[in-house]
């Protein structure tokens, strides 16, 4: 059992309860075997609660902590991080940064090895877990050639090998596509059947709706409300939106189509093909047309070739000899490199300078201060023009990158997974940004597996599978049905597996 007694925490050392992630007077009781979801906007403090449970606060992240956290009858202050970790497993948001080892076998054994368990016992546990999770195909592999979804499953299995009573997950699905999320759900279901206490900080609620017992809604460091999933299912889309929660059932999705303006212009891609040395082609598109003046969503499961597609389109892949045509212009690779801009999934990689203003200036053909300021103003960034880009929030960074794209007169703009890990409000902010750049002389492409984002801003869908375009359709009411079907499919098949 976990009990929080009047817990307050702030990441600053002076005790002021300001800034993101701080907590105020939290009282909370989670019973053994219960699965609870902590939800709320980014920065509301839900991650902080998970860190208090797995001991990273106060032993790794420093700050000011008052109140007591009692875990299985012991005060967490009297335990070391090692003691807490023995009985608490953690799964984190970013699959890239939560492995200590380079191969899956070592990773599964890691926690037990650190606890000094006998080798035979560890091997027995690994064998058991591998069978229970059905992950034989993931064993003996390097983590560097696994997809994000596969890594997340290994992270869950690693927790299971150590067999703790409490399992904490911090936004585990935010970098996953639907299929991988369905796999994650299976793992949580296994733990639930083993009577583990499960705490999940998450804003995608839908995949949890039939496993979790309660949802705590947190706002500005306080637990404002607690719901059961039945109560959430009753709420309308607007009610959920005002709480900042993502939809729980299909019916709560906004089902109106986005206004589609028929545009004659299109960007025609010809002969887009790419393959790594001596392996099957990752991308093989003979011809594909992407409309101008619309926002096109590119969807498909992991490994469908989405990121290769966007890299080829930007002209970043030298071996891809394809051309793009529009208005009788032919764009070869180098031309596309000049005409296109990709807002990367990790925007941090594309901000180089010491201030937002400089960032925009270096993107311009002729560096004009007035024009740069004007662009910043249009994106609501003028006040931040002297800030270091790395110190901005995620959404602001993204706007900064968009400002650069506008400054450099790019006509093709690609957003690569722009909303992975964002809550509802920030997701809408991104959707607004994307709509803002849309105009008749631009071609906007959104690569995403965020259904809600696509529904809220896209007007056209291109679906890739195994490197080929297998369908493309406008997002009218008919198209929405097809889109939702595609996103629902993995969950239907997974529930079949179980029953």
């Amino acid at each position: 059992m976990i009990e929080f007694k009047n817990v307050s925490f702030s990441y600053s050392n002076d005790g002021s309860a300001n800034g993101g992630g701080c907590l105020k007077n939290i009282d909370l009781k989670i019973n053994k075997g219960e699965a609870v979801v902590l939800s709320g906007e980014s920065g509301c403090g839900k991650t902080t609660i998970t860190r208090l449970i797995n001991g990273l606060i106060p032993y790794y992240y420093e700050g000011t902590l008052t109140g007591d956290i009692i875990i299985n009858g012991k005060n967490s202050r009297d335990m070391s991080l090692y003691d807490i970790s023995k009985n608490t497993g953690s799964v984190f948001q970013n699959p890239r940064s939560q492995f200590f080892n380079v191969d899956t076998d070592s990773e599964l054994a890691f926690s037990c090895e650190n606890q000094g368990m006998p080798v035979e016992e560890i091997k027995r546990r690994i064998k058991e877990t591998v069978e229970l999770f059905g992950i034989q195909r993931l064993m003996h592999r390097s983590i560097f050639d696994m997809s994000g979804g596969e890594k997340q499953i290994i992270a869950c299995a690693a927790v299971s090998v150590a067999d703790p009573d409490i399992i904490v997950l911090d936004e585990p699905s935010s970098n996953l596509d639907m299929r991988a999320t369905a796999e994650l759900k299976k793992c949580i279901r296994i733990w639930k059947s083993q009577k583990k206490t499960i705490i999940i900080a998450e804003h995608r609620l839908r995949y949890l709706s039939d496993i979790a017992d309660r949802v705590f809604y947190i706002r500005e460091g306080r637990i404002e409300n607690s719901f059961t999933f039945d109560e959430l299912r009753e709420k309308s889309f607007e009610e959920l939106k005002s709480l900042g929660l993502r939809p729980v059932t299909d019916d709560q999705f906004k089902k109106a189509g986005n206004a589609v303006s028929e545009s004659q212009n299109g960007l025609t891609l010809k002969n887009f093909a790419f393959a790594y040395k001596r392996s099957a082609p990752v991308l093989k598109i003979e011809e594909c047309s992407i409309p101008f003046g619309q926002i096109t969503a590119v969807i498909g499961n992991n490994g469908a070739g989405k990121s290769t597609f966007s890299r080829c389109l930007c002209g970043l892949v030298k071996k891809c000899k394809g051309i793009a045509e529009y208005n009788d212009n032919t764009l070869k690779r180098r031309d596309r490199l000049k005409k296109s801009f990709m807002v990367m999934q990790d925007v941090n990689n594309q901000l180089f300078t010491e201030s937002v203003l400089d960032e925009v200036m270096i993107s311009m053909e002729e560096e004009k201060n007035d024009k740069a300021i004007e662009i910043l103003r249009s994106l609501d960034l003028e006040e931040l023009s002297d800030r270091h880009p790395a110190s901005l929030s995620g959404g602001q960074k993204q706007r900064c990158a968009i400002a650069c794209a506008i400054a450099s007169n790019k006509e093709i703009m690609i957003f690569d997974e722009p909303t992975s890990g964002l809550d509802l409000r920030h997701m809408y902010e991104v959707a607004d940004n994307i709509r803002f750049v849309n105009s008749d002389d631009r071609c906007i492409i959104v690569v995403s597996h965020d259904l809600e984002l696509i529904l809220s801003c896209c007007t056209y869908v291109v679906r890739l599978e195994k490197g080929e375009v297998i369908e493309h359709y406008p997002l009218d009411s008919n198209g929405i049905g097809r889109l939702v079907d595609f996103f629902e499919e993995p969950f239907r098949s997974s529930s079949k597996d179980v029953s």
Partner: protein, 244 residues
Amino acid sequence: MTDDIMPGAVHDRKGVVLDPRTKLLLLLMISVFSWSSIGGRAGWIILPVITLIPVILLYFSRKWKGAVISTLLFLAVNLISYTDLNKLSGGVYYIILMIVGIFGRLMPCIIMAYYLVYTTTVSEFVAAMEKMHVSEKITIPFSVIFRFFPTVREQMHFIKDAMDMRGIKIGGKHSSKYIEYRLIPLMICSVKTGDELSAASLTRCLGGSVRRTNICKIGFGFPDYVIILILIASVAASVIVRLV
């Protein structure tokens, strides 16, 4: 995409398997023989002989590509070293000089290092170090380096892409700041990822006072003894030649 520096990351038990400690000893001996005068007058024969060990082992480990390349390098360097090319002059001569004087001595170490890195998993390596009673203070950061190196590399590729899209390149706009623009985001992102990595590892019980166990089994076998014997013989030979 990910150019692994420990590409033998995954258990790949094919062919002759050596204990990592033997490989390390071999690497050390080859380094010492090629970079110092320890071989004395017998060095010219000892070095090629022990360099042949990893070349042959690469065939036994079925690393065909590496095996063929290292065989060719081995033959080329040795042939050039023993051929009289003094009559040549100018640039060509200096290139040959470099090959003999520098690359010729780098080559044995590189082949051995290649063999070691491509046939040893990180966990085997750590297990070997633990058996040699190397402190955790070395083994933990050591494994983090191998774990993190490809991640940083990957990040570097992303940044290169981003720079291409913005038209920043050497010889282009802002080339004076090229290095700054490449390094800054790399370090900022890597440090953040590193912090996440260390938080995650600590929740997996790393750093307790308990003595770690290791599921990775290593040990000496027949091939190990053969190689150690050859090494002992080489050292003995060089000592005897000196005394005579």
